[in-house]
Amino acid sequence: MVSSVKMDETKLVKSWDKKHLLGIRELSKDEIDIILDQARAFKEVLTRPVPKVPTLRGKTIASLFFESSTRTKLSFSLAAKRLSADSISLSSSSSSILKGESLIDTARNIRAMNVDIIIIRHSSSGVPYILSKVVDCSIVNAGDGTHEHPTQALLDIFTIKEHKDNIENLKVSIIGDIAHSRVARSNIWGLTKLGAKVTVCGPATLIPPKIEQMGVKVVYDIDEALEEADVVNVLRIQLERQQEGLFPSLREYTRFFGINKERLRKAKPGLLIMHPGPVNRGVELSQEVADMKKSNNMPYSVILDQVTNGIAVRMSVLYLVSICKSENGR
């Protein structure tokens, strides 16, 4: 097994003081850069014949997924394995939550098994924060309600950096159901901290109040959002929102906010098309656009690159939270 990972340990250990990864809002620009730099080193590991390092050997990681997930769950699971950690996982459908055990008790019991890191996904905003106050191991947020999805934003930014020279002044448009999107919130925090210009676009009913105060521009015209963008991050629209009365129909949504080839005619050359998945093909993205390959300065999709990068980014996060010495780091 190859053990050398290129990293400047002393610099990292010195400057990194976060025991948890709860949200991007709490991170500084430098901390985001540390995670991304470290992820780059781990990405190299993943290209090796034996894509594994002993970095977290002896550490135990528990994944609690109280909401369905494909990408994030497998990605974290692989990240833990690539770091040689022992990992266990639990989902709500098979846990004692169904017997009425509280979330906090569940977490305390898991901690009592001497787990070092708890990775949690939950449908209620704030759950990782609440757990971080009641258990003393590291908590990594894998998506909480409509609040934050920090590792998604980090892998999005990591992917953007692979394709664009500089994040500063880059124009990123986030399209769709901003109000219910933790991906949007985490991306806005991360991108604005790194100096990007972020625009959000969607039906007025899916734009949360006072979002301008987060430092973004709000537009309701998809063409306007696409025209100036260097990167477009398209969010999944959920059918439940129609039932809640937030937009009239998927048909109308697709007509006014869906992205197809025709809409991209005026787009900048080399526009990056991103999506956190799962994609509703034919709704927010047409089949063609979702699969656009890089060629001749045309817009192109990096949706699968995002997935690949997710593993390296999550390895970086798991590694960093595990080296934190501070007790009250957040």
Partner: protein
């Protein structure tokens, strides 16, 4: 008991009705105030209590508490609630009917009054439900409840969404001369919300409750009060828009009164940051401009009453996902301190105004006698020391300690309480049995 003469020495006595605002000695003989004067001579049979540097004010009245009985006696009982009230300077409290079962009939009203008399610590005056089971559909038996001792009606916790039902309630209660106390919230606008709608709810990803949910309902209720002439008392006013509506209605002569709670002039929605479920309350904590408007409303008389909306919850219910935790915070033992700390000490309100808001007006809203400190009246008074204390869970008589003011430094400790002539809180200790 035979002759008992208690002399409160050198306190700063403030009474709204008798217009006292001076250092005075008060002599209480067998429960009656027999003398108020300067430098009273101490006689041999006097029990002397030195209250120099402390304030002596009429006993307070909290018209909005939740005592959780019957149904959730683990959160509060009549006894624990009464002790908490006494420690907070209240000798009379109203309890809301959102219990299990709800207090919507004369039998339950009598049950509360009998329990209150048995414990004999503070007077618990029940508020009956407006509608049967608080369902907002059929009027509850208000006349019967009045005869058993109900002092007002409310479906608190829920609004009466059906305007037709609300109209009839105001007409019927108006006939009885009792107030309808409204929990003003348009549930179409507030549905699924857990905190104030605004920037903080957006960044926390928590669905918001807009101010308009409160203001639009208050607007409706004012129209219905105007139409029927019934006394409308608006509970827990939290935002500027509501204060403005009530101010206008009062100018027009509408039969409307309203209350706010200490948290609405002490905190903003930023208290929720970090997903603090102890700051989860309904109506929710609003913005700075609302806090300012509430304070303005208190100063100019638009807001009549400071009520606690004391809402005890079990710790395991609050140590929960934010969207699953119940609304509410305790207040009986914090209201007076918060009012002193946030309003009196900074010079926004004087003691006379505090007495109006926490003693005189509350009594008037529910048609009860107003307590005064005057010669010949029964001793119903409170001695407050403006000293600092730190609230912590051990400091409460309440069975619950859900409050965003936990471990905060506050001013104002109640040292002595006389209720109906009896010394029930003596040097901070409850002496009632």
């Amino acid at each position: 008991m035979k002759d008992r003469k208690i002399l409160l020495k050198k306190g700063h006595v403030v009474s709204f009705l008798s217009k006292i605002d001076k250092k005075r000695d008060i002599l209480i003989s067998n429960g009656e105030i027999t003398d108020i004067s300067e430098n009273m001579k101490i006689k041999e049979d006097y029990e002397v209590i030195d209250v120099s540097g402390k304030f002596v004010i009429p006993a307070l009245f909290d018209i909005h508490t939740h005592l959780r009985t019957p149904g959730r006696e683990d959160k509060e009982t009549f006894l624990s609630g009464a002790k908490a009230a006494l420690k907070g300077g209240f000798t009379r409290i109203c309890c809301m009917p959102n219990t299990d079962p709800p207090i919507d009939n004369a039998g339950l009203i009598r049950f509360i009054i009998e329990q209150s008399k048995k414990d004999d610590i503070v007077d618990i005056l029940p508020i009956g439900a407006i509608t049967k089971k608080r369902e907002g559909k059929e009027l509850a038996e208000m006349y019967d409840m009045k005869l058993s001792g109900a002092v007002g009606f409310s479906d608190d916790g829920f609004p009466v969404m059906n305007s037709g039902v609300m109209r009839r309630a105001l007409e019927y209660a108006g006939m009885l001369g009792l107030p309808i106390i409204t929990h003003s919230e348009d549930m179409g606008l507030s549905k699924g919300g857990h905190m104030n709608e605004g920037y903080i709810s957006t960044i926390l990803g928590i669905k918001g409750i807009p101010k308009e949910a409160e203001a639009s309902m208050i607007s409706r209720d004012i129209e219905l009060s105007k139409m029927t002439g019934g006394h409308l008392h608006i509970a827990h006013v939290s935002c500027k828009e509501s204060v403005d509506l009530v101010r206008e209605a009062k100018k027009e002569g509408v039969n409307v009164t309203c209350e706010t709670c200490p948290h609405y002039f002490s905190l903003t929605d930023e208290a929720v940051l970090g997903f603090n479920t102890n700051a989860k309350v309904n109506p929710p904590l609003r913005n700075k401009e609302d806090v300012e408007a509430i304070i303005e409303g208190l100063c100019d008389g638009t807001i009549d009453v400071i009520a606690s909306d004391h809402a005890p919850h079990a710790i395991q219910e609050k140590e929960m996902e934010f969207d699953k935790a119940p609304f509410g915070m305790i207040g009986l033992e914090l209201s007076l301190s918060l009012t002193i700390t946030k309003l009196v000490k900074p010079g926004i309100l004087n003691w006379g105004k505090l007495i109006q808001l926490m003693s005189v007006n509350p009594a008037k809203v529910v048609n009860q006698p107003v307590y005064d400190i005057s010669k010949g009246s029964q001793a119903n008074l409170v001695v407050v020391d403006i000293k600092e204390w730190i609230s912590n869970k051990e400091s409460f008589y309440s069975l619950s300690y859900n409050t965003p003011f936990l471990n905060k430094s506050l001013l104002g400790v109640v040292d002595y309480v006389f209720s109906k002539g009896r010394l029930l809180l003596n040097n901070g200790e409850i002496t009632a049995e």
